[in-house]
């Protein structure tokens, strides 16, 4: 089973993912590719607590993600891939992660960032990454929850 959703979300596993995207996509597994979290067992257990027991959760470093994705695929899991930044998403796509639709849910505000939606702010390097996605056939959709209409990144630019 291919990925049911690839999502950039600086909060990784949280309410929107567990309560909205998991039921909406009928996902039964979450793959969280994040170097910080992979090195922090405590934070991992905290994030895992709120996930229903029927949903498998895989935490891995970015450079381990491709085999983890392949394993989940072989097991027939319906997986949601979560990364914390556009750069991480780009690294995974370059390494061969199979998604052509990329959802952006949350990218928090910081000085110098441009507001794209109330919960998504782009830094200059995010624009670069998103440009790379566009030139590689990946559609980028800014959409916090499945029930709101997504805004395509291109439309935002115009």
């Amino acid at each position: 089973m291919p990925l049911v959703l690839a999502r950039i979300d600086c909060r990784l596993i949280h309410g929107q993912v567990v309560e909205a995207w998991v039921p909406h996509t009928s996902a039964d597994s979450l793959i969280v590719a994040n170097d910080d979290l992979a090195g922090n067992p405590f934070l991992r257990s905290v994030m895992e607590l709120a996930v229903p027991p029927a949903i498998r959760v895989h935490f891995c470093r970015l450079d381990e993600a491709i085999p983890v994705l392949a394993d989940a695929d072989r097991n027939g899991e319906r997986s949601i891939l979560l990364v914390a930044s556009a750069g991480d998403a780009m690294a995974l796509r370059k390494a061969g992660a199979g998604f052509n639709l990329l959802n952006i849910g949350n990218l928090h505000f910081a000085a110098g960032k441009v507001e794209i939606s109330p919960s998504v702010f782009f830094a200059p390097e995010d624009f670069d990454a998103l440009g790379w996605f566009r030139s590689h056939g990946v559609t980028v959709l800014v959409q916090g929850t499945p029930f709101e209409s997504g805004t395509s990144f291109d439309a935002e630019r115009e």
């Binding site: 309410g15 309560e19 909205a20 067992p41 257990s45 905290v46 607590l49 916090g144 929850t145 029930f147």
Partner: protein, 140 residues
């Protein structure tokens, strides 16, 4: 579609609906009624009735109130004889988040029971859960 009216002391109702919207997106067919201390019983009754009318369309209306025994709940109960409503007390955010998807599948009485169960189960002490987990499976 089953409608919902959230009734609370203070602005809790409005903010609860707003908070749920952040998590699962804007919820249709839901109205918040905030009750302030200067409102008379008649005013509160009228506000809730207006809200019920706004969201009712044949499948019933869930009255979600902040606290059993409080005014929102007591006034909510006064609609039992006149409207197709079910009063559910002690509403919390997990119940609100569950509501839009749960109402698609079941009639109002069953929906109320499911949300009650969800509300109960959602109150926990995560620190204890982590401790239990650590005892069961020591970190490698």
């Amino acid at each position: 579609m089953i409608g919902a009216v959230v009734v609370s002391h203070g602005a809790f109702a409005t903010e609860l609906v707003r908070a749920a919207g952040i998590i699962v997106g804007k919820i249709e067919g839901i109205v918040a009624v905030d009750i302030s201390p200067e409102m008379s019983v008649e005013e509160i009754h009228d506000a809730v009735e207006g809200a019920v009318r706004t969201v009712e369309n044949g499948d019933g209306v869930l009255l979600l109130t902040d606290m059993f025994g409080g005014t929102p709940s007591n006034i909510g109960l006064s609609f039992l004889g006149t409207h197709r409503v079910v009063v559910l007390t002690g509403v919390n955010l997990p119940m609100m988040v569950k509501f839009p998807m749960a109402r698609e599948a079941v009639p109002i009485d069953e929906l109320a029971r499911q949300l009650q169960e969800c509300g109960h189960r959602s109150i926990m002490i995560p620190g204890d859960m982590l401790k239990k987990k650590a005892e069961k499976k020591p970190e490698k």
